[in-house]
């Protein structure tokens, strides 16, 4: 891998008696990396650390080559960071423009003219230039998410951290979002978390799978798909040997697990690979 921009080394985090992360280790280089996992897996905790707003209890964390535990280096990271939290809050009485302008001031853009030009630039990047005068409370949920995305793009950050950016968006909005993110240049680092495998398949050069605070997989989407190679087959009904099974649009059942001999094997998708990993672990937990 080329120079890693994000280095997570055996990072742990506890909240009261719950352990959110158990010694997670992975690296991410420039380009788009996806953090895939079910709800409660620890994705938000990890992303908050990458956004410098949470410190790990144990382990080593380096972002863009700096240590966020050191005040000056933390500031240097924040100057090159764009962050879209999972539940972005808004000053509801602000217009879209005013809100992004406010964040731009927090990003130390003191020159009014240049700042307003930049606000206009990011709003048109996400396709909101026509509604910049509308109050946020008058905008739809999808538009509010775009406002949140716009503010993260201020100043063209080197590190973009997006926590479940497509949650609650309809398919057309998700497609739009993917277009915006994929336009990031190749020397920027994007880390996004999602539980939608289509986002990963469409966008990411690398993917990390997380479950219950531990990483299960680190590699390319192709490699994740290959995990399910030879382990996906179609049948008329739910197979007994299948770990997971569901009905597809054309009425057949898609089964994943250890295929019985003579089964009608099909080409696996990324989702199959993911489910196999996550479903497997879930089963192992139940058995234990």
């Amino acid at each position: 891998m080329s120079t890693p921009m994000i280095e997570i080394g055996a990072v742990s985090k506890r909240f009261g008696r719950t352990t959110a992360l158990h010694g997670v280790t992975f690296d991410a280089a420039a380009g788009i990396t996806g953090l895939l996992g079910p709800n409660g897996a620890g994705k938000t905790t990890l992303l908050r650390m990458m956004a410098t707003v949470l410190a790990p209890d144990d382990g080593r964390l380096r972002l863009l080559g700096w240590d966020p535990g050191v005040a000056d280096e933390r500031l240097a990271i924040r100057r090159r960071l764009g962050y879209m939290p999972q539940e972005p809050g808004f000053h509801r009485a602000f217009t879209a423009f005013e809100f992004v302008d406010y964040i731009a001031i927090l990003k130390e853009m003191t020159d009014r003219r240049a700042r307003h030009d930049e606000v206009r630039r990011v709003l048109s990047l996400v396709g909101l230039e026509g509604v910049s005068e509308k109050k946020i409370k008058a905008l739809s949920g999808g538009m509010r998410r775009r406002v949140a995305l716009a503010q993260s793009l201020l100043g063209d950050p080197d590190l973009l951290v997006l926590d479940e950016p497509t949650a609650g968006l309809d398919p057309e909005q998700r497609l739009r979002f993917r277009e915006i993110v994929s336009e990031r240049t190749s020397d920027q680092t994007v880390m996004l978390s999602t539980h939608q495998t289509e986002d990963v398949a469409a966008l990411c050069q690398r993917v990390i799978v997380i479950l219950d605070g531990q990483e299960l997989f680190e590699g390319t989407p192709r490699e994740l798909t290959d995990v399910a190679e030879g382990r996906v087959w179609l049948a008329g009904e739910r197979a007994a040997a299948a770990r997971l099974s569901w009905r597809t649009a054309d009425g057949a059942h898609r089964n994943i697990g250890d295929a019985p001999s003579g089964a009608d094997l099909v080409t696996p998708t990324l989702e199959d690979g993911y489910l196999l990993l996550v479903g497997d672990r879930a089963f192992a937990e139940e058995a234990a």
Partner: protein, 176 residues
């Protein structure tokens, strides 16, 4: 005359709703003639540009207050000319451009053209001196008050009144 009155009205209604594209459409349609018309009343191009800018900002902010139909250009002109007068009041600049006297020799053809639009009035206007004509233009065509005309032309209000009276007399005589 071709009138697309509901086009302008509809655009202005959209602007009142916060539609930026509608404002731009209005701008592309009306800014050109506004610039030219204001330039004939003020020799300072920088000032004219600022006034046009202020006018369309005022259109954006005041679109909701427009209560008319088919009179949008006149409304825009009203805003524009009054902004110009406000500015001139604060900093009296070089006022009227020297009027074009050379073409006062109106050709027969032009007479016909002008005559079709304004009848004998056009010819009669052409016979007035430039100062009188300027007052008529300001008070009659631009619809300004005596005070506003005085600021625009850079002359005392009393002079505006006297010149307007003289112009009226001369026009009456010419049209009699």
């Amino acid at each position: 005359m071709t009138v697309r009155a509901d086009g302008d009205d509809a655009l202005l209604r959209a602007v009142a709703q916060g539609d930026r594209q509608a404002l731009e459409a209005l701008y592309r349609r009306h800014a050109p003639w506004l610039v030219l018309r204001l330039s004939r009343r003020c020799a300072d191009p920088g000032l004219v540009e600022e006034v046009v800018q202020d006018t369309f900002v005022a259109v954006w902010r005041g679109a909701g207050r427009y209560r008319g139909t088919g009179e949008v250009p006149a409304w825009i002109w009203g805003i524009g000319i009054r902004r110009l007068i406000d500015r001139l009041r604060r900093q009296p600049a070089t006022v009227m451009r020297p009027s074009r006297d050379d073409a006062i020799v109106v050709s027969a053809e032009d007479e016909v053209l002008v005559g079709v639009e304004h009848g004998d009035l056009g010819t009669a206007l052409g016979r007035l001196s430039p100062e009188l004509r300027a007052v008529v233009q300001a008070t009659v065509l631009d619809g300004l008050t005596t005070k506003e005309a005085a600021t625009l032309l850079g002359i005392p209000q009393g002079t505006v009144k006297t010149r307007a009276a003289r112009a009226r007399r001369e026009l009456r005589e010419a049209l009699a």
